[in-house]
Amino acid sequence: MASRTTHFACNGESVAITVDPRTTAAEAIREQLGLTGTHVACQTGVCGTCTVLVDGEPVRSCLMLAVQLDGSTVTTVEGVGADHADGLHPVQRAFVEHHSFQCGFCAPGFVLSTVALLEGDEPLDREVIRDALADNLCRCTGYQAIVDGATAAAERLGRLDPPAGGVDA
């Protein structure tokens, strides 16, 4: 059907893409913008590997049409570490240090969900973080290391209240 041009900000840059309206946001991000860090794994909004931030909030890009991005501000995993030392946002750095991922396929989704969580103002502790991270699936790790990394990042960013606890494995 008739193509549409959609304009939005992506990782700090203005972009304009022309798409068949049935193109999902995930597809457009991956194939037209070439930002392949956002992954697709279930197409039903369950797994979270397609998570991006739209106007600061986590969304499933596989459940949005690309044309719905018009006028919004989008952040993908590629945009998260941009202004940080060594190209790693504190969340990304904490995940690396805590061995949080194995195959890496779920990592971008977790990075964005965690960044959104830590940039909000909801009071956080390890259990609240674990509960929030249940938004994203991982098939490799059993989640311990991911919760460790996210909690460490929260502590580093002064978002933990009260201070971290948890099992030392």
Binding site: P21, R22, T24, Q43, G45, L63, S113, D135
Partner: protein
Amino acid sequence: MHAAPFEYHDPTSLDEVRRLLDRRGPRPALLAGGQSLLPALVARSSEPAALVDLGRIAPLRAIETTADGELEIGAMARYVDLQRSPLVRSAAPLLAAAAGLVGMRAVRTRGTIGGCLAFADPRAELPLALTVLGADVTVSTAEGEWRGPLDDWRPVARRREGDLLLRIHVPPAGPRDASAIRETAPLGRGFATAVVAVRLTGDEHGAIVGATVAAGAVAPTPIELPQVAAALRGRPLADPLGSEAAAVLEAELSALDPPSDLHAGGEHRRHVTTVLARRAIAAAARELRPEGT
């Protein structure tokens, strides 16, 4: 896999939407939050010729209270909006709680109350909460606007062609109202196996003077349990479900024929509904008890 082709419209006014719905030809599908529609499009279980995106209709997002305290929620209000809104939290805490039960945060940032009601998944929490709260809806139809009880609009067979949900109206909670919603799902979150919502009104003597109880996931639409509600009236808040009211609950639920699926058979569904009803009733009653009891 991949959605089939469709015509895409993103009107900026309700008049434009109305024109698109009323024009000749196959009825377009309405795109609200997309959290239910997109999976259907991608799997090709739904192949509309045209899509009308409601995302640019600003008035549909509003959440307001009217002069008499009634809560007016635009159909495009999102789950997170319901969770966060101070108006919803004070006037209809059950609705805010129900919104919080919807699976994923990322789904709650896009999914809308209107989309939820239109999709009418029997397991959904919002329609159940609205049933208990006695909500009305305002609908735009080909013949003009219509307002009436949600229960009158809900059955798909009763909807008119080209209906567009505009607003949901919720009477305000009274000072002696308490509500609770309880569900159980195959995983901690996801589509509920069973879900029950309750609203109780208490008096200053520690008795229940009003009750509404409804169950989801056991029938195509939320089912009110009027016999249980009647049996609760007059009961003490300290022991809302004595043996008689409990027996009424069992009997009323045994008249239902809940569906079976991969996760639960009908009989199990019925049983856990009973358990959840008991727990929801107890929770609401606890909230109402005068302090110290």
